[in-house]
Symmetry: C2
Subunit: 137 residues, 2 copies
DNA sequence: ATTCAAACTTACCTTTTTGTACGTACTTAC
DNA sequence: GTAAGTACGTACAAAAAGGTAAGTTTGAAT
């Protein structure tokens, strides 16, 4: 009931949400780990890529410039373990494996993409700040 | 005009945004670095914390359980360099320094918090998936 | 006189993450 | 018959991130 004491941007959360909120600040909360998976260097890019549709392993590798096979495999596995990515393997030779988002994966990916979009769109503002600080430094 | 070919979640972007989109997939794009700053282990937590208001260094340290002084200082510096965090030092002894979000910082932080909120609120779903996979593994 | 507190910085060391290179199994292309 | 493509696993090495502990500065409290 003392919601108004908080920053206005914080209001709009239900009581349940309020109670859940703040757990990330706790050291041992598993939410930190899940968050680390989706915000990991390659996790972010994989999620955004898969929002566009289904991709094969090597297609993803070509799309996400700079990932090693090892890292891509590892990232996909952790996202699969969290239930964000669906792996479909067709038992043919050469192997054919498709990756897509689960419904839950889409939900996170949308948020991740919004963040990435903001960064891309506002990148020039950040670069301006950085440039301005170099001068005054 | 062929927006409909894309995943519906992707539409709603302007042409300019469409053109900017995809730069993150390029290896050397600076947006990747900025993204790494805000999605870094401690960066996420600092941004969310500062959405609640202004904090002093040691207050942040107590709030974000598990950060070392070294990491907190480093994180704050990179966020300041990107123009997301405003550092205000009062020349008194002992030192008094306040950290808050710049307008630009609030914009990112809101997105970061939405992502973190989703994770916290849906954590149980993730844990259920993880538990189910352990059985079948 | 000694301790404490703030907000760091620095040196040193450990842990985690990431990359490189190679191996695998099988088939198609040259 | 040799190379290439597919989707990885694995060993080793380098790089990056992170932690620990100590030092700094100055005034106020004990």
């Amino acid at each position: 009931m003392k919601d108004q004491k908080l920053n206005p941007a914080v209001s709009g959360l239900t009581l349940t949400e309020q109670m859940q909120r703040g757990q990330v600040f706790a050291e041992r909360c598993p939410s930190r780990q899940v968050l680390n998976h989706v915000t990991s260097r390659w996790g972010v890019l994989v999620l955004i890529a898969l929002l566009e549709g289904t991709y094969r392993f090597s297609e993803l590798r070509r799309k996400i410039t700079g990932v090693s096979e090892r890292m891509l495999a590892q990232t996909l596995q952790s996202l699969e373990a969290d239930g964000f990515v669906l792996r479909t393997a067709y038992p043919v030779v050469p192997p054919h494996v498709e990756y897509s988002l689960t419904p839950m994966g889409e939900e996170v990916a949308v948020r991740v993409r919004e963040l990435a979009d903001w960064v891309e769109i506002n990148l020039h503002r950040v670069l301006e700040v950085q440039a301005a600080q170099e001068v005054s430094a």
